[in-house]
C-alpha cells in the first residue's frame, strides 16, 4: 500500500476526484472532528456523516503517516465520497463504510480534509492525493441541491447520485442586494443632473475678470463723479475722444441702442443701469463734455460723459481699464474702440472689442440681462449655485 500519488505535493491542492470505479465519486478521508454524526444512517448529515467502521480501523496501521504518536488516528480520519461543486466552493461528503476498504490505504496515506465551516454551501478546501486524480485535472462538476435541513430531509428531489440529505447550491451567482441597485441608481441620477447642469447651463454668469479702477472725474454738468457712486449700479463704459465726430457714429448708436433696449426689455428689478463714456483727451471744462454728450446722443439720460487730466486718464483708462489709446503730436488720438461692463461691486465683467457688426448691442443687452439676473439671485441660497457656476461652467 504505497502512496504513489505524490501525496506530499498534492496535499494542498483542491480538486474534484475522478470516479475510480464508476460508482460515483472517489473516496477521500476527512478529519473525524468535522463529521457530524447522524443517528443510524451512516450517511450524510450536514456534510459529513457516518461512524468509522471497525474494519476500517483495522486497516490503519502504525506506519501511516497519519498515525502520530499519541494520536488516535481513528479520531482523525474517516472515509467517504465527496462531490465537489464546479466552482470548488462547496462539496458534499458522503461517508461510506467498508466498501471502500481497498481504497483506504491510498486514501489513508495522505488525505486530510479541512473544513472551516459547519454549514453546507460554504467553501472548503479538500486536499487529497488519491490515485486516479492527477493534479491539474479540471474539476469534475457534480451538481446537487443544497439542503437546509441538517438531518437530511429536504423538500427537493433526490439526486440519484448523492441520495437524500446533502445538497448543494451550485447556482450561486453574485447577488447584488436591491438596495445597492437603488442607491446606485440615485447616484447615477445625481451625476446625470450635474452633467446636465454643466451642459445646459441653466445658470449663466459673466466672469469676474479684474477690479475696475477707482476714479474721480469731472462730469458734463460740472459735478465730480467718483467710482463710489457707481456702487450698486451696473455700468457700461465706453472710451472716446470728446471731439469724436462721425467716426464714432456706430459706437454711439450702439450705446444708445443698449440704453434704450435695457430700459425696455430687461427687468432690472432694483438694480440700476447706467452708461458712462470717458473722454480720452484731457478735459478741463465741463462744457467740453457737454458738447460731446450732445453730439453722441448721450444728453444725460442715464449716459454720462466724464473727463479729467491727461495722467489721470492714462491711469484710469490705460492701466485700470486696460484700453489702448495713444495721443499723437497733433492732438488726435488713436484708440482701440470697445466697451467694458462693470457690475455694482466694482468688478469688470465684460471687455468687448468693438466690431462693426450690428449685433454688438444684442450681445451687450444679453450680458446686462445675465448680470442683472445674477445680482438678483446671487444672495442667499442662490449664492452657492452661482459660485459653483463661476467655478465650473464655461462662460457665454
Amino acid at each position: 500500500m504505497n502512496a504513489e500519488s505524490g501525496v506530499g505535493k498534492d496535499l494542498l491542492s483542491a480538486c474534484t476526484l475522478d470516479p475510480v470505479d464508476g460508482t460515483g465519486a472517489d473516496q477521500v478521508a476527512v478529519r473525524r472532528d468535522d463529521i457530524s454524526t447522524t443517528a443510524g444512517s451512516g450517511f450524510g448529515g450536514g456534510r459529513l456523516g457516518g461512524p468509522v467502521d471497525d474494519e476500517l480501523r483495522a486497516l490503519l496501521d502504525t506506519d501511516s503517516p497519519l498515525n502520530r504518536p499519541g494520536d488516535d488516528p481513528l479520531d482523525k480520519i474517516a472515509v467517504g465520497s465527496v462531490a465537489i461543486a464546479d466552482d470548488d466552493s462547496s462539496g458534499v461528503f458522503e461517508v461510506g463504510g467498508v466498501d471502500s476498504i481497498d481504497r483506504v490505504g491510498t486514501a489513508q496515506s495522505g488525505v486530510v480534509v479541512t473544513t472551516d465551516s459547519q454549514r453546507a454551501g460554504q467553501s472548503r478546501e479538500i486536499q487529497h492525493g488519491t490515485e486516479g486524480h492527477r493534479p491539474g485535472d479540471p474539476p469534475k462538476p457534480l451538481h446537487g441541491r443544497e439542503a437546509t435541513d441538517p438531518t437530511g430531509s429536504s423538500a427537493g428531489p433526490k439526486d440519484p447520485l448523492l441520495g437524500d440529505g446533502l445538497q448543494l447550491d451550485t447556482d450561486e451567482r453574485l447577488v447584488i442586494p436591491r438596495w445597492v441597485k437603488l442607491g446606485g441608481g440615485i447616484l447615477v441620477a445625481v451625476i446625470a443632473a450635474a452633467m446636465a447642469f454643466a451642459i445646459f447651463e441653466p445658470i449663466q454668469v459673466l466672469p469676474r475678470f479684474s477690479i475696475a479702477p477707482g476714479y474721480s472725474l469731472l462730469a458734463q454738468d460740472g459735478s465730480t463723479v467718483n467710482s463710489e457712486s457707481a456702487r450698486g449700479v451696473i455700468t457700461l463704459y465706453s472710451f472716446a475722444p470728446s471731439h469724436c465726430g462721425d467716426e464714432c457714429g456706430d459706437m454711439n448708436l450702439t450705446m444708445a441702442e443698449v440704453r434704450d433696449r435695457v430700459g425696455a426689455e430687461i427687468d432690472l428689478g432694483e438694480v440700476d443701469f447706467q452708461l458712462v463714456t470717458i473722454a480720452l483727451d484731457p478735459i478741463t471744462t465741463p462744457e467740453q463734455l457737454a458738447v460731446a454728450a450732445e453730439r453722441s446722443g448721450a444728453q444725460g439720460r442715464s449716459w454720462t460723459w466724464l473727463g479729467g487730466e491727461e495722467n489721470e486718464i492714462r491711469t484710469i483708462v490705460g492701466d485700470g481699464f486696460g484700453r489702448f489709446f495713444e495721443t499723437e503730436d497733433d492732438g488726435s488720438i488713436r484708440y482701440d474702440p470697445g466697451f467694458i461692463l462693470v457690475d455694482g461691486n466694482g468688478m469688470i465683467r465684460g471687455n468687448y472689442r468693438y466690431q462693426t457688426l450690428a449685433d454688438d448691442a444684442e450681445k451687450l443687452v444679453q450680458h446686462v440681462d445675465i448680470l442683472a439676473e445674477e445680482i438678483r439671485y446671487a444672495d442667499g441660497p442662490g449664492a452657492v449655485a452661482y459660485e459653483a457656476a463661476h467655478l465650473f461652467l464655461c462662460y457665454p
Partner: protein, 149 residues
Amino acid sequence: MNKARRRLIAGFAAGMLLVVGACSSETSEITIADSWARATPPGAESAAFYGVVTNLSGESDQLVGVSSPQCEMAQIHETTHSDGVAGMAPAGADLLSLNDGEKLTLEPGGLHVMCMGVSEPLVEGADVQVEFKFEKMGSVEFVLPVQAG
C-alpha cells in the same frame, strides 16, 4: 486743563440739575449699555466711542450734541458704506431722535461718537468721560472704558 476741568465740573453740576429737574419720574433716565472707547493707536488724533443709548425718559427726545473733556471736538458720525465706503458724515438729525424706549446703537462701522483732537492717547484700562446732550433731558454723562477692540 483748567478750562477743561471747569467745563467738566459745570457739566456735571448742570447735568445733575437737569437730570433731577427735568426728569421728574423716578425711573426716567437715559441709559447706555455695552459702551466702550477704542484705544487709540500711536499718533492717531481721533478716536471713536461706542455703546447703546436707550431713551427711558418717558418721552421722545433728540440728541443734539456730544462732547468729552478728552476731545477737542466730538460729533456723532455715521460711517456710510455699502460694500465699499463712501466715508463719514455727521449723522442726520432724524437718526438722532429717539422715541420713548428707542435705542441708538453706536457701533464700529456704523454710527459712532467721533472724537477729534484727543488730548492724550487713550490707553486700554483708562476711562473716558462722554456727555450726551439731549434736547429735553439735557446733559447725560457716562464713563466709558477704553478697550483695544
